[in-house]
């Protein structure tokens, strides 16, 4: 158990032509579970691999437990990593797979190793599989073994690189809970990389969002969801995605109106929001689908067509004719016809505003956490 600190971490590939990770600062507290999320190619794996010692940073420092390990070889760092494809040694039995790390990094006797492995296997519910080879296991079992292999070593830090992405949806949720349970139990500092924002949200004590190698925002999942630092974060976190509209701001001193295409017309009354948009000609509004409600006509209600209705059982998704792809999540008993004209409304407190040019949030309190570098 230890803290992990990244200090101005940067990684370049092909002689500086590709910048995979750009000056990331991050502090992970002892026992914290941090999820790192971002689209494909944003540098998540690279960051994780630098923490593991599998890649050497181009510049910047990494400390684990307060000790600078930047120049320490992977095998000397007391971290355990769970890989996307499990990376189980195919020729070893489950037991040997799990014992390998112990054999390499501790002085335990054979019997002690056996004992330790057996304990962990029981904890993971895989004690019956110990004599099997990875080939003979199902995806979920493999995943459990991979976790077991990491846990058995009782390392300072757990690193996970999209460990669940090869599992099917059901199994993914099961395993997700399992990992959380384990981490709660063990209290080991963990960094968990995923491209699935839901996974990131539900699992992380804190969530770190990367894009294009750059840190976008860190924070408690709910805060990030409620108060995204920029349009990217807003759009990336949450499913279905936040809806965006570009609107022009008409401020006559008394009222502030936001005018958009398709007859969008919204009047801001809240002073904080008016302050935020004041001084901008055009802003991007972000509205989450669940914050859109079907209403009757009225002030600030927008009339629009229902283009598609997607039932997902628990809810219905309405694809509306506002902007590019505007979705409203409504209860499953709200079932307008396709093509029907309806009115939708949203509460001003649920609106997010972003700079039309650089996408920065106009509401985000910068003191909240370290300022993103964008």
């Amino acid at each position: 158990m230890a803290t992990v600190t990244l200090d101005d971490l940067r990684k370049e590939y092909t002689n500086g032509q590709i910048v995979a990770v750009e000056d990331i600062d991050l502090d992970v507290d002892d026992g914290e579970f941090v999820t790192v999320v971002g689209p494909s190619g944003c540098g998540k794996s690279t960051t994780l691999r630098m923490i593991a010692g599998l890649e050497r940073p181009t510049s910047g420092r990494i400390s684990i437990g307060g000790e600078d390990v930047t120049d320490v070889h992977a095998r000397k760092r007391d971290v355990a990593m769970v890989f996307q494809n499990y990376a189980l040694y195919p020729h070893k039995t489950v037991e040997q797979n799990m014992a390998f790390g112990l054999r390499m990094s501790t002085d335990l006797s054979k019997d002690e190793r056996r004992e330790t492995v057996r304990e962990t296997a029981e904890m993971m519910g895989i004690e019956d599989l110990l004599d099997q080879k990875p080939d003979e296991l199902s995806g979920g079992q493999k995943q459990r073994v991979a976790l077991g292999r990491a846990i058995v070593r009782d390392p300072d830090v757990f690193l996970f690189d999209e460990p669940l992405s090869n599992l099917d949806a059901k199994l993914r949720t099961t395993m997700r809970t399992e990992i959380q349970r384990l981490q709660n139990e063990l209290g080991t500092t963990s960094v968990y990389v995923t491209h699935d924002q839901e996974e990131a949200m539900t699992m992380g004590d804190r969530i770190v969002i990367l894009n294009d190698g750059e840190l976008q925002q860190t924070g408690v999942p709910k805060e990030v969801y409620d108060d995204p630092a920029n349009e990217f974060v807003g759009g990336f976190i949450g499913s279905p995605s936040m809806n965006f509209l570009t609107v022009s701001v008409e401020d006559d001193g008394a009222t502030t109106r936001l005018l958009g295409e398709d007859g969008f017309d919204y009047e801001l009354t809240d002073e904080r929001l008016r302050d935020a948009v004041r001084g901008h000609d055009r802003v991007r509004i972000g509205i989450r689908p669940e914050d859109v409600s079907v209403s009757g006509p009225g002030r600030n209600a927008v009339e629009t067509t229902v283009e598609v209705i997607e039932p997902v059982g628990s809810d219905n998704y309405l694809h509306l004719g506002v902007g590019e792809d505007f979705i409203a999540r409504v209860a499953s008993d709200v079932e307008p016809e396709q093509g029907e004209q309806i009115h939708v409304a949203f509460d001003a407190s649920n609106l997010h505003f972003f700079d039309a040019d650089d996408g920065e949030s106009l509401l985000y309190e910068t003191e909240q956490s370290a300022a993103p570098t964008v």
Partner: protein, 321 residues
């Protein structure tokens, strides 16, 4: 699935080529040509091994028919086999041959894996060029290379091997006049001849070793050697095993090296099986006996291969469950 019924079911209007059993026709030409040129001679050899065939009687007679009657050679029963199997020289060659297989294969594998690791190393630059250079021996005719190595292992003080020994301050060695030194020389030469093929296979195998497994092992705290033993080696085991089996068979049948070096000497001490057969058969043109020796050798190598193929599951394909 019963083949008969499935065939019957498919006969209807299915295009000919799409019938699975018709696929046999695709294999047959190769099989036929191969049999014609390899199996027929083997059978022929089997035939003459029971005769007293010599050039003078074997080639007598006219027309293609005389092939089948082995010219005018006379049937002598198993005499040739008895002669061979009671010859102490044969049993010596038998022992030496297996010893040679064991030592040379070990040497070849070690050398090839070593070289392959070097020319695939992460930190090594110019790997591709090195890999191309390294296979040059494959492009030279074996007979030439072996003649050159014969010169290298000259017992004379000025043989290259001796010059190297002298350069590092050792005394020169009578390579080919000393039984075990000659044996060593065979091994070195054999290894040198065979390494390009083995290295290519090993390099290919190494490139398929999962990087992720290596990383997992690194994180698990394994050093270079441990990773090699626990990750690399198991991953390349099958291709290397396969190459080893092939190369073991090649070692078993090595002829040119001992023959060119010192005719399986010194004084027949290192006569490998094929050399023994060649000397018995060709020095005095005893084709019948030569055939018997060849077939005994074939039988041994056949059993050896059969065991390996079985145990190594080399004949299994992906779709054999």
């Amino acid at each position: 699935m019963s083949t008969a019924s499935s065939v019957a079911r498919r006969v209807e209007d299915v295009p000919f080529l799409e019938r699975e059993d018709a696929s046999l026709l695709l294999v047959l030409p190769g099989l036929f040509v191969f049999s014609a040129f390899m199996l027929f001679p083997i059978l022929y050899l089997l035939g003459i091994s029971f005769t007293n065939a010599e050039p003078s009687n074997l080639f007598a007679g006219d027309g293609a028919l005389s092939v089948l009657t082995f010219g005018e050679a006379a049937f002598v029963g198993v005499r040739n086999y008895v002669t061979v199997l009671t010859d102490p020289n044969f049993w010596n060659s038998f022992g030496v041959t297996w010893l040679f297989v064991a030592t040379s294969v070990t040497l070849k594998i070690t050398l090839s894996i070593g070289v392959a690791l070097i020319v695939t190393g992460d930190r090594v630059r110019g790997k591709r060029l090195m890999r191309s250079l390294i296979i040059i021996p494959m492009g030279l005719p074996a007979i030439f290379t072996i003649t050159v190595w014969r010169g290298i292992f000259s017992s004379a003080e000025f043989g290259l091997a001796n010059q190297v020994l002298r350069a590092v301050g050792l005394s020169s060695v009578s390579w080919l006049s000393d039984r075990w030194m000659a044996f060593l020389a065979y091994n070195v030469t054999e290894a040198w001849l065979a390494y390009p093929f083995m290295v290519i296979i090993t390099v290919s195998a190494l490139q398929d070793v999962s990087e992720e497994l290596h990383e997992a092992a690194k994180v698990d705290g394994a050093g270079y050697l441990a990773r090699f033993l626990h990750v690399t080696l198991p991953s390349i085991k099958r291709p290397v095993l396969f190459a080893s089996i092939l190369t073991a068979a090649a070692s078993f049948q090595q002829f040119l090296i001992p023959y060119v070096f010192n005719q399986g000497g010194p004084a027949r001490a290192n006569e490998l099986m094929v050399v023994y057969g060649y000397r018995e058969a060709f020095t005095y043109f005893q084709y019948g006996q030569g055939a018997a020796i060849s077939l005994i050798a074939v039988a041994f190598i056949g059993v050896f291969m059969w065991l390996n193929v079985k145990r190594g599951k080399l004949a299994d394909g992906v779709n054999d469950a």
